[in-house]
Every structure is written in structure tokens, then in C-alpha cells.
């Protein structure tokens, strides 16, 4: 039994729904109790989809448990077929239905529907959403794509793009970006799946020469099956960041036999110049903590170091399936990776490391708010804000532009920081100065979601402030004072000092501005 306040991933059948909802002409019949239909709102509200997910739920209740839930499932299955006339069906159980062991796969087979029916076994008490999505996609590919080991009549410059799903973090825009990139290179996209693919498209995956795996968490298993059964090699590089995009282009070049010199020469991203421009100097050595799904964490780690000049002080993921890769990345940095799906563990690690920037999920945003740290969102779990109206991929050269803005925004701009130092003694920079703005926006303090759980502050305050030191602290501009105060107290705590003097304040400043 695990105490869970917030969860990073939903149950595995939600992963299956992400595949079904991404596809066309596929219907999912889910043996599930009343209430599990809540999952529809993820798609219609968070992603703002304008049609219902193609899912029929049996929504059984207590009174059905005494009767025949198996019959209920068969009826639901048959009626869904009659009403929606899908090309193929997937069937399975949610957590509660798993306990009553009705065998949806067997029941659906017994109906002998004139379409392929793919049974799913998604163990709800062991696995989670991404695993469910991966398993579902793999099962669909395995069931619908004929093994084809004769690659001779394939166009060597053709590929499939595998991985984008419904409710994916920027999947819609990543797909556009990478499809355009591939087409500019002269690669033909044979099938994109599961996004907008029909079961009949899955059947012709074998026509392509290789597979582009955008999200290993979702598509790597299917990719491996295709590698083995259709002799299709697959890409290993996820094109997030400038370096990774260049490597991805080179990898696609090798797989397709296309010369990539030209496409690499016309690289369009502003990130390299923006990062080199003097205004970005202040980014150097900023201490960042990274947490999210493995794909985005690994990409962010590389970008943070080599494209922003940050120091990565902490890294972790909730994707246990990819723990090894994240541990390896951490080992290269000489740190220990945090592999957990416990939000409280992540919060504790952040409080301990006290980074200058958090690259995380919507949940780390709440942690950051409580600790007063800047935060940018790099990964699912998704939020309505992760489906912006504007084009905002994470992948490819445009993705790198978006990421540059996203990460730099929460931080103070370089010139701005410089000016604050220059003018810190001016009257406008003192406490009352911002009142004309803050009065209008000041609201009653909201109860802090996490603070409630932690009656103890992140850094226990032991040292007291000497009056002169407190006076000196007040001279620091109000918008950086909180950080100065925290850093000083932390420094005093680490050294076991009982009293914070002016010297402690400046020693701490020297210590933290390494």
C-alpha cells in the first residue's frame, strides 16, 4: 500500500485509451465499474478534443456483481460494434474488473465479430499509464501488421513515425515538426502511428524502410517487434535540443542513405546564438534540478549542460522502465538519480538540493511555488496549459527555440539582473516601491497545498539574525531578498552557526555565487 497525494501517471488502461483515442477506426471496450468514465474528460477537457474518446465502458454496479457481468461485457462489446462499426477493436479490463476475472479477451473472441479483436492484459496493480500505452500499441502492431522480412522492394528513403498519442506532452506539434524535417531531408513518411492511424495503416507499417521512434516510452516495444519481424531498423535518438536534433538528422541519414550536409547547413534555430549572446552569460552554472518522464529528462539533461551552460545538480524520473538510462546519465554527472513516483520524495530532494531552476512537471511547479523557486515544465503529466493554441513543439529546431524561451522566462534576464545590482540602493527598489502594482494584485494568501503537509520548513531555522545583519538584509532589493535570506540561513545551518552576522551574510553570498 502506498500513500499517494498526486500521481505522475494514471492507470495502464488510461494508457490504452491514449492509443485508442489517437487512432481512427479503432474502438476500445473496457470492462470497468461506474465512475471510470471520468477518463473521458482528460481528453475532452484537458486536450480539448471535440469528439468523445472511442471507448465503451460496461459501467457495472454492485447489483451486477451478483448477476452476470460477463454477459454485460458481451452485450457492451456487441452493441459497440453495431453502433460504431470499427475496423478493429481492443478489449480489456480496468483495475476493478481485473479483480472479478471475467476474461474480456475470451468473451470478445466468443462473439466472433467480423473484425480483428485485440485482447489487452494490463495489470493495474503493478503497471502504469505509459506502460499501458506501450503494451497496447505493441499488441495492436503485433496483431495487425503482418510479419514481412523481405525488405527488397521498399523505398530506402521511407519511414514510419511511431509514438505520438492522444494526451501526449506536445505530441501534436512534435509530430508536425519532425514530419516536416524528414520531408525536407527527402524522406517519405509511410505511416504515422498511433496518431491518426487506422488499423489498415498499421497493416502497412512493413512498407517502410525504417522507423522513427519519437517517444521510446510508448513506441520502443513496437519498434523492437518491427525490427525483428519486418527487418526495420529504428532510430535511437530523440530529437529534443540542438545537439540531439543534429544527431537525429545524421542517424536518419545513415538509415536512409541520404546526404545530410545540406540540411544541417540550413539549420534554423535561434537557440545557439541566443545562448552565446552576452545576455545569456548569467545562465552559466545555474544549478538545475530535472524531473519528468525519462525521454524528456534525458533530453533536458543534455540541453541544460551543453546548450544552456547550466549545472545539473539533480535528475530523476517516474518512468521506472527507463530507470537504467537515467541512472547512467546521473552517474556521468557524479550524482544519484531519483527514481520514484512518490511526489513527496521529489519534494524532499528539491528542498535538499535547493536548485536555482526546476525543470519538471506540473507537480514540480507546485513544489517550486512553495519553495519560491523558478520552474519550467518539460514533461507530462499534462495540464490544459500543455495544449497551447500556438505552435509549440519540443522537438527539432523550432522545439529548441520554444525550450529556450520556456526555460529562460522563469529566470531573471541577464541585463535585468545586472541593473538590479547597479540600482539596488535606489529608493524605487525598496519595500514600498512596488506597491502600485502589488496592491492591485495582492490577494489573501491561498493555503499552500504542500506546506500543509510539512509543518516543518524545508531548512530548519536554527541560527538567529543579529540586528545589524538583519538591517543589511533589508538593503538587498526585495525581489532577491528572500533568496539571499534563505541562502544565508542554509549556509549558517550547514556550518552550525548560532548567530547570523553581517560577515555570515557576505560569506554566504560568496559561497553561493561560486
Amino acid at each position: 500500500m502506498q500513500l499517494t497525494l498526486w500521481t505522475y501517471e494514471g492507470p495502464p488502461h488510461v494508457g490504452a485509451m491514449r492509443i485508442a483515442t489517437a487512432m481512427k477506426g479503432l474502438h476500445y471496450v473496457l470492462h470497468a465499474p461506474q465512475g471510470d468514465t471520468y477518463a473521458d474528460l482528460l481528453f475532452t477537457m484537458i486536450e480539448r478534443r471535440n469528439v468523445r474518446p472511442p471507448v465503451t465502458y460496461t459501467t457495472f454496479q454492485a447489483r451486477d456483481l451478483g448477476g452476470d457481468t460477463a454477459e454485460l461485457f458481451k452485450n457492451a462489446c456487441f452493441e459497440a460494434y453495431e453502433r460504431f462499426k470499427p475496423e478493429a477493436m481492443i478489449v480489456g479490463a480496468s483495475c476493478t474488473a481485473e479483480l472479478i476475472q471475467d476474461d474480456p479477451g475470451g468473451l470478445a473472441q466468443a462473439l466472433a465479430l467480423p473484425i480483428p479483436v485485440v485482447p489487452l492484459e494490463l495489470p493495474s496493480y503493478q503497471k502504469k499509464e505509459n506502460w499501458g500505452a506501450s503494451e497496447t500499441f505493441y499488441r495492436i502492431v503485433r496483431a495487425l501488421c503482418p510479419a514481412n522480412s523481405n525488405p527488397s522492394n521498399r523505398n530506402p528513403k521511407s519511414c514510419n513515425i511511431l509514438g505520438p498519442t492522444a494526451l501526449g506532452f506536445r505530441h501534436r506539434d512534435d509530430l508536425n515538426e519532425i514530419r516536416r524535417l524528414l520531408e525536407r531531408m527527402g524522406v517519405t513518411v509511410n505511416v504515422v502511428a498511433p496518431f491518426d492511424a487506422r488499423p489498415s495503416d498499421i497493416a502497412r507499417l512493413g512498407d517502410a524502410a525504417f522507423n522513427v521512434i519519437l517517444y521510446p516510452e510508448i513506441a520502443e516495444n513496437a519498434g523492437r517487434w518491427l525490427e525483428k519481424n519486418c527487418a526495420q531498423p529504428m532510430t535511437s535518438i530523440v530529437p529534443i535540443g540542438i545537439g540531439a536534433t543534429r544527431d537525429f538528422i545524421a542517424e536518419v541519414g545513415r538509415l536512409s542513405g541520404i546526404d545530410t550536409a545540406e540540411i544541417l547547413a540550413e539549420e534554423t534555430s535561434r537557440l545557439p546564438w541566443y545562448s552565446k549572446s552576452v545576455d545569456s552569460t548569467y545562465l552559466t552554472g545555474k544549478r538545475v534540478f530535472i524531473f519528468g518522464d525519462a525521454t524528456h529528462v534525458l533530453a533536458a539533461e543534455r540541453m541544460a549542460r551543453t546548450e544552456f551552460g547550466f549545472d545539473v545538480v539533480g535528475i530523476g524520473t517516474y518512468s521506472r522502465e527507463y530507470a537504467r538510462q537515467v541512472r547512467e546519465a546521473a552517474a556521468r554527472l557524479g550524482i544519484e538519480a531519483l527514481i520514484t513516483d512518490d511526489y513527496l520524495d521529489v519534494e524532499a530532494r528539491i528542498a535538499e538540493l535547493h536548485p536555482e531552476l526546476i525543470l519538471g512537471t506540473q507537480m514540480e511547479r507546485h513544489i517550486a511555488k512553495r519553495l519560491g523557486l523558478p520552474c519550467a515544465v518539460i514533461s507530462a503529466p499534462v495540464h490544459v496549459q500543455d495544449f497551447p493554441a500556438r505552435y509549440s513543439p519540443q522537438m527539432g529546431f523550432e522545439g529548441a527555440n520554444i525550450i529556450f524561451d520556456t526555460w529562460v522566462h522563469p529566470l531573471m534576464m541577464g541585463l535585468e539582473e545586472h541593473l538590479i545590482h547597479m540600482f539596488r540602493d535606489d529608493a524605487e527598489f525598496h519595500d514600498g516601491a512596488s506597491s502600485h502594482l502589488s496592491h492591485a494584485t495582492k490577494k489573501a494568501p491561498m493555503p499552500d497545498p504542500v506546506a500543509e503537509l510539512h509543518p516543518v520548513a524545508a531548512v530548519p531555522l536554527e541560527a538567529g539574525w543579529a540586528p545589524e545583519a538583519e538591517k543589511e538584509l533589508k538593503k538587498i532589493p526585495f525581489f532577491v531578498r528572500g533568496k539571499a535570506k534563505r541562502n544565508t540561513e542554509r549556509y549558517a545551518h550547514d556550518l552550525g552557526l548560532a548567530m547570523i552576522t553581517i560577515e555570515t551574510l557576505y560569506d554566504a553570498k560568496a559561497h553561493f555565487s561560486r
Binding site: M1, P11, T37, N50, P455
Partner: protein
């Protein structure tokens, strides 16, 4: 603004929909389970914590529901059952003790803990009642531990509140006072305060609210207790109160000017408030409500409305919209229809209204498309798809989270229905 308005002819004289056949359906139900009630109950009872004993799905549901609706501080959590628990490798009692200890250590402010049953905990027959009793012994007097089920196999959406309140009634202290009134059903604090002032003006004393704002101040119940239902979904709670000798004061629900007056009148009549004093206490509020409603008549009168089942508030809402705003009722769906509690609502509905209980969502969507109503009241899973088909929709869940009861919220309640229509008019060029 103040259009002349005639109350429709189907007023109490006729029997309305009392004897009308009901369309009962048993297909896919597109509704929340009772766990969702935690989202508002934890806000209401300020020192209570709700621990769901369930699966990752339960945790995900509450998080998704809370995330879309409000961002609340988590005074709720899920103890996620894993395969070790199912395989009997872990002792469930020990596991639960460990989770509860971890929780209570972190939250010294908690005085009441609800163990909330879920579909998986019900199916594996986890005895949370016994667990709650055991944990209560361990943690009293600091923390009282109660239990109820919010599982989807037993409860639909607002029935979770019913189960929670029934657990509170079972735990209530006996009342020795001569006569008292309890208003039953979670109301927002602002509405509660308004009703309290009106009861005071009427001279009705010893008024309690269930649930109270604090775990330690739940009203006592005795044979002289009379109760008004503020919500239409409190079947089990009412039964638990009746078993303790309390008596229900039948009334319509306090929605709209008429509904609120009739609801207050039921209490006034029982406690012997004179007509004069009742008028003094309610007339100003009633007039304010009517004035606020008049502002929405231009938008709503004559418009047709279709209710998908959701919170069981559908019948009282339909009565209000028809009687006080002149809307046409196409179909009024509800997850359950409690005829006795809703009798006065049924009497006031126009004869011939299509009433449906339960759901087969695909068939109901067919009927809705066929009827082409001006406004559809439905859950979050259906709203955007229906908007995309050209319907105006009102998310039903907002009706549970917004203060809508009483005189001073009648205008806001009408506004919730008028807004989608106004919006449609404004965006006509898109």
C-alpha cells in the same frame, strides 16, 4: 429588463409529474463515482482528511476532477493497493496502520479521518468499518476515524456525500435539547450564514448544519430533531436520521425564489412561526431574488433544455428553470429518482415532461441530437463534443461547486444557464 412574467399553469393544483412513467435505462452511465464528493467535502470540513483506500485509478480520478475544477490543497490522498496486498503477502491491517501513521504524523491539524472505500476495496471485501474502529481506538482522542464507501459500484457522484453524511449521523451524539433543526447537505459557508440569519429572524433556534465546518462541532441528533434536506441526494443520510428518531420536514429544495421560500416555510410551519414573522424574515430576500431572476428572463424564457443525469439536482433545477424562468423541459435525466424526497418537485413539474432515470449514454445522445435543445446540461466528458456539434452546454459539475441555494444566489444560478447562451450569441461570427 423586467419582462412581465406569468408563472406557468402547472402549479401545485395539478399533480405535475407525480404519477408519470419514467424512462429507465441501464446502459453505459457517463457519471462520476462517489469519490468525487471528496473534492468539496474536504473543503467544507476543515479539519478532516479523506483517505481513499483504492487503486491508482481512484487517485487519478480525484486528481483529474480536482485539477479541472479547482486546485485544492490536498487534505485527501489515496492508499494505493498493490499486488503484494492482493496476493496476501502484506497484512492489510499493518499496511493501513503504516499509511495512516505516516499521514497523521505529517498532519497534526487533522481531527477526523475518513477511510473511504472504493471499487477495488469493496470487491476484495476489505472491512474498512472494522479498520476505522481499530484506528479510532489507536488515535482517539486526537483523531476520530470514520469510514464510508465512495465506490462506483455503490455510489454515483453526489451519493458519496450521502454516504459520508450517513457515517457522520451514525457517529452523532444524542441530542437532549427540546427541539432542534438540522439542515442536511453540504452548503457553501456563505449560503449557510444567510440561512442562519433568516432562521434567527424567524425565531427558530438550535439550528445546526450537517456537515459542520469542523469535525468537533457536528450537530447532535435526537427524537426532537427535525431536519430539512438542502440537497436532493441524501437518501441514506435521511434514513440514518430517521432511525435516530429525527423527522424530515418535506419541502421542495431551496433553489430559486419560490423554492427557497417554500423550503423555509416548511421549517416555519413546524416551529410555529407566525405568517407575519415569516413574511418579515423572507419577503426582502424573495424580492431581491425575483429582481435578480428578471435580468435573465430575456435570455432564458422559452428556451429548451435537456438534462443528462449527473448530480440528482436535475429535477429541482428543472422545476426552478421552468417555474421561475419559463424554460421548456425537453428531457430531465437523473441518476436516481427518490420519489419521496422529490415529491414536491414532481408536483411542480409540468405534466408530460420526459423524466429518465439511469442512463444509456449513446441512446440518450441520440435523443438529444433529435430534440435539438437550446441548452444541454451534461458532464465534462460530453460537453466539448456536444459544443463541437453546435449545442450550447452547461457543465453540470459547476452546479455542485457553486453556491446556488437561497435567495441571494438565485440570480447567480440563473446566470449559470444564461452564460452559455450569451456566449453563443457573442461568438456567433466565429
Amino acid at each position: 429588463m423586467n419582462l412581465p412574467f406569468r408563472v406557468p399553469a402547472s402549479e401545485p393544483s395539478a399533480k405535475g409529474c407525480v404519477d408519470q412513467p419514467i424512462l429507465r435505462e441501464r446502459g453505459q452511465r457517463e457519471v462520476f463515482c462517489g469519490l468525487t464528493g471528496i473534492v468539496w467535502l474536504h473543503r467544507k470540513i476543515q479539519n478532516a482528511f479523506f483517505l481513499v483506500v483504492g487503486s491508482r485509478t481512484c487517485a487519478h480520478l480525484i486528481q483529474s476532477a480536482a485539477g479541472v475544477m479547482i486546485f485544492a490543497e490536498p487534505r485527501f490522498a489515496t492508499a494505493i493497493i498493490d499486488e503484494r496486498d492482493l496476493a496476501g503477502l502484506a497484512d492489510i491491517d499493518d499496511e493501513l496502520d503504516r499509511v495512516v501513521n505516516r499521514l497523521l504524523d505529517r498532519r497534526p491539524d487533522i481531527e477526523m479521518l475518513f477511510l473511504v472505500g472504493s471499487c477495488p476495496s469493496e470487491v476484495i471485501k476489505l472491512d474498512l468499518k472494522r479498520a476505522a474502529q481499530r484506528l479510532s481506538k489507536l488515535h482517539l482522542p486526537r483523531v476520530r476515524v470514520l469510514n464510508y464507501s465512495g465506490s462506483g459500484i455503490e455510489t454515483t457522484f453526489t451519493q458519496g456525500e450521502d454516504a459520508c453524511l450517513a457515517a457522520l449521523v451514525a457517529d452523532a451524539l444524542p441530542d437532549t435539547k427540546p427541539a432542534s433543526l438540522i439542515v442536511v447537505g453540504a452548503l457553501s459557508d456563505v449560503v449557510e450564514d444567510q440561512f442562519n440569519r433568516i432562521f434567527a429572524q424567524m425565531g427558530v433556534e438550535n439550528v445546526g448544519f450537517l456537515p459542520a465546518r469542523h469535525a468537533g462541532s457536528m450537530p447532535a441528533v435526537g427524537t426532537e430533531t427535525r431536519y430539512l434536506l438542502a440537497q436532493p441526494f441524501l437518501n441514506d443520510t435521511a434514513r440514518a436520521l430517521d432511525e435516530l428518531g429525527a423527522k424530515h420536514l418535506p419541502a421542495p429544495f431551496p433553489l430559486g425564489a419560490n423554492g427557497t421560500t417554500a423550503w423555509l416555510k416548511a421549517a416555519a410551519d413546524y416551529f410555529g412561526v407566525s405568517d407575519e414573522r415569516f413574511a418579515l424574515a423572507t419577503e426582502a430576500g424573495h424580492k431581491r431574488a425575483e429582481k435578480a431572476l428578471a435580468a435573465h428572463r430575456e435570455t432564458l424564457t422559452g428556451k429548451s433544455i435537456f438534462f443528462f443525469p449527473d448530480s440528482q439536482l436535475e429535477l429541482p433545477l428543472a422545476r426552478f428553470l421552468h417555474e421561475e424562468l419559463g424554460m421548456q423541459l425537453v428531457e430531465v435525466g437523473t441518476p436516481y429518482l427518490h420519489r419521496q424526497h422529490l415529491r414536491q418537485e414532481l408536483e411542480r413539474l409540468p405534466a408530460g415532461t420526459v423524466l429518465s432515470e439511469g442512463q444509456d449514454v449513446d441512446r440518450q445522445l441520440d435523443r438529444c441530437r433529435e430534440a435539438k435543445p437550446d441548452l444541454v446540461v451534461c458532464g465534462l466528458g460530453l460537453a466539448n463534443p456536444l459544443e463541437a456539434e453546435g449545442f450550447s452546454t452547461k457543465w453540470s459539475i459547476e452546479l455542485v461547486f457553486t453556491p446556488i441555494q437561497g435567495y441571494d444566489q438565485a440570480g447567480d444560478l440563473a446566470g449559470l444557464f444564461a452564460r452559455p447562451l450569451n456566449r453563443q450569441a457573442r461568438l456567433g461570427g466565429l
